[in-house]
């Protein structure tokens, strides 16, 4: 099993519902976030377009944050999800610096925190909070190893990109374009 998230940039309106849902679901401290919205203007005048997308930890296959963690608090599950065990994290910040997506932050309690793909919800058979609240249904979540899953089908049919592919991290968050 390889969990992945697919986000349709053509359907995203940048409402930040996903950000609020994540903060509520995961009790993210005020001022911090595990996911966020970016706005990018592509093209040249007069043919320009605004791209909105929801970003978060990419749960990379080749995760530099896992590699550089000195205690093993940052680790990867068999299903591809990258997690931080808060109780084992010493808060050295090495993973924050190694992440090219700037997806991690230091929690006010000292340990490092980030998106978990709502691992606790997945265990109950639920979708991540951000996916479940998206009003335009631009976010999809599923198993990449299953060729019939919604995410696999979308990646077969549509054009997509990943963030900073040159970093060689093999991200598991895909953006349909």
């Amino acid at each position: 099993m390889r969990y992945a998230m697919v986000i349709d940039t053509l359907k995203c309106v940048g409402c930040s519902d996903c950000v609020v849902a994540c903060q509520t679901e995961n009790d993210v401290p005020i001022g911090y976030c595990r996911d966020w919205i970016t706005e990018t203007v592509n093209g040249a005048y007069p043919s320009i377009e605004l791209e909105l997308k929801s970003e978060r930890c990419n749960h990379c296959e080749n995760a530099p944050c896992v590699r550089c963690c000195p205690t093993g608090a940052s680790h990867q599950l068999n299903n591809g999800i990258v997690l931080v065990t808060g109780d084992e994290c010493i808060g050295c910040g090495a993973c924050i610096e190694s992440c090219p997506y700037d997806a991690r932050y230091q929690h006010p309690d000292g340990y490092v925190d980030k998106c978990t793909f709502c691992h606790h919800r997945l265990e109950k058979g639920q979708l991540p909070a951000c996916v479940s609240v998206c009003p335009t249904k631009c976010m999809y979540f599923g198993d990449l190893d299953n060729p019939n899953s919604e995410v696999s089908e979308l990646l077969k049919k549509r054009k997509y990109k990943t963030l900073a592919p040159e970093a060689g991290t093999k991200p598991h968050v895909y953006y349909l374009i």
């Binding site: 001022g31 911090y32 966020w36 919205i37 970016t38 706005e39 530099p64 590699r67 550089c68 963690c69 000195p70 205690t71 093993g72 608090a73 084992e88 994290c89 010493i90 808060g91 050295c92 910040g93 090495a94 924050i96 610096e97 190694s98 090219p100 997506y101 700037d102 932050y105 230091q106 929690h107 006010p108 309690d109 000292g110 340990y111 490092v112 963030l163 900073a164 970093a167």
Partner: protein
């Protein structure tokens, strides 16, 4: 040469520094202790409230603590390198500076790692680094390298101290506290200065002098890798390890010159620490400033010319928000020492010390510019975040703890030079002994 008589003479010469604490020294120690106490309060504030009392936030999670860490470890590395070379090549003037250099090496290696502890979000879980270490993490490499370096430097420093402890133990006229005499007796390890013991000690000190050079290079290289093995703009560079080594040597030589000046002035050691020593150290500083300038130019030129998007953001930040810091660190901090040290007529003790001060300040700022602006301009541009999360500015807690580090360094240095003479007496005797042998071997007409 009557060795015992010479030993007594040397103890008599250096004993005032060991026996008496002048009013000036007491005030100096009092000030240092006061700074350390304020720092201890700042540490408690940080321990109770967490990193929220510092300027470190979401993006800039490493601030001036890590800059101080790099700076102190760099000084230590440089000290180990210079001390090792002085011992290995039996440099004739090593006696004048070797102990200053050795003390700087060990003390900065004790103070430096304390700063990295202040960076850690959960200090209470520090032992996890030893209970659950993961060898693929550069942080683990760094811990292993620094601890090995520290042990190596301690052994080396102690080996160079043993003959002096023995001289102080054997001197009956020395008026120091009982515990101090007892300490000399224990620390001298029954060293009797026999030919066999002396040769064995010289052999092992020489071996250790090579080992600490290697250990220091490894430790500082690993430290550079913590940065260069990430993708962050400004850090991901193949020349970072040699660049750090040159920078470490540059700052270290600067600190050694400043210490030489202060000690010469305070202890009136004009006979031992002479202008020729300042000029020799100044020339090393000149070579280092040229190399450092060359590496700095190469680093920034490559980033500017390649014009990668994230590098452009970084250079924009450097030339706007940190313009004056950039100018001081990379222009004034390099060019002023070069100009002063290049022309013979400028090479006075005061001007060489001034050049060293400029070099040290410039180097500290250079480390700041490597760490902070990079974190403010990460690999992918940041949007819609709080200004205080992106723009770093240190708080009083960080400044106070930084000053505490410097004060602790100065305090330990002061206390140690009150415990053993700052000029190695055994080194002077060895030198005189060698000179006598050399003169005996030479035909008379060749002796000037």
């Amino acid at each position: 040469m009557d060795i015992d008589k010479r030993k007594r003479e040397l103890v008599k010469e250096f004993s005032p520094a060991l026996e008496n604490y002048s009013l000036k020294t007491k005030i100096w120690i009092g000030c240092l202790v006061a700074i350390i106490l304020v720092g201890f309060y700042a540490f408690l504030v940080q321990l109770i409230n967490g990193h929220i009392v510092t300027g470190m936030r979401d993006n800039v999670v490493w601030g001036i603590y890590i800059i101080n860490f790099i700076f102190f470890v760099g000084i230590s590395y440089s000290g180990a390198f210079i001390s090792g070379i002085l011992h290995f090549f039996k440099t004739p003037w090593k006696n004048s500076v070797s102990r200053i250099v050795e003390l700087i090496t060990v003390l900065s290696l004790i103070i430096g790692p304390i700063f990295i502890l202040l960076c850690i979000g959960r200090l209470d879980r520090l032992h996890y680094l030893f209970l659950y270490p993961r060898i693929q993490s550069p942080i683990t490499w760094d811990i292993i390298a620094i601890m090995t370096d520290l042990v190596g430097c301690f052994i080396y420093l102690y080996l160079t101290f043993i003959p002096d402890f023995a001289i102080l133990r054997d001197n009956k006229e020395l008026k120091v506290a009982k515990w101090q005499k007892k300490a000399y007796r224990i620390l001298a390890l029954n060293y009797q200065d026999t030919t066999e013991q002396r040769e064995r000690l010289h052999k092992i000190t020489r071996t250790m002098s090579v080992m600490i050079i290697v250990l220091a290079i490894v430790a500082y290289t690993v430290l550079a890798w913590i940065f260069s093995l990430t993708l962050q703009p400004g850090w991901n560079s193949t020349i970072f390890a040699p660049y750090f080594i040159i920078a470490g040597l540059y700052s270290g030589v600067g600190v050694i010159i400043i210490s030489m000046y202060a000690i010469r002035k305070y202890f009136h050691l004009e006979r031992y620490i002479r202008k020729v020593h300042f000029i020799a150290a100044g020339i090393v500083l000149l070579v280092m400033s040229l190399l450092f300038g060359y590496f700095t130019f190469s680093e920034y030129f490559a980033r500017w010319f390649s014009h990668k998007e994230n590098d452009v953001h970084l250079l924009d930040t450097l030339f706007n928000r940190y313009f004056w810091e950039f100018i001081f660190a990379n222009y004034i901090g390099v060019l002023v020492p070069i100009v002063i040290l290049f022309f013979k007529k400028f090479r006075t003790i005061k001007s060489i010390t001034f050049a060293a001060i400029i070099a040290v300040l410039g180097l500290w700022l250079n480390r700041f510019l490597i760490v902070v602006p990079t974190l403010e301009t990460p690999y992918l541009p940041i949007q819609d975040t709080r200004a205080e999360f992106v723009n770093y500015s240190a708080t009083w807690v960080e400044y106070s703890l930084s000053l505490t580090g410097i004060a602790a360094f100065c305090l330990l240095f002061t206390l140690l030079i009150k415990f053993v003479p700052i000029i190695p007496m055994s080194g002077i005797i060895d030198y005189e002994r060698d000179q006598k042998k050399y003169n005996k071997r030479q035909p008379k007409k060749a002796v000037k």
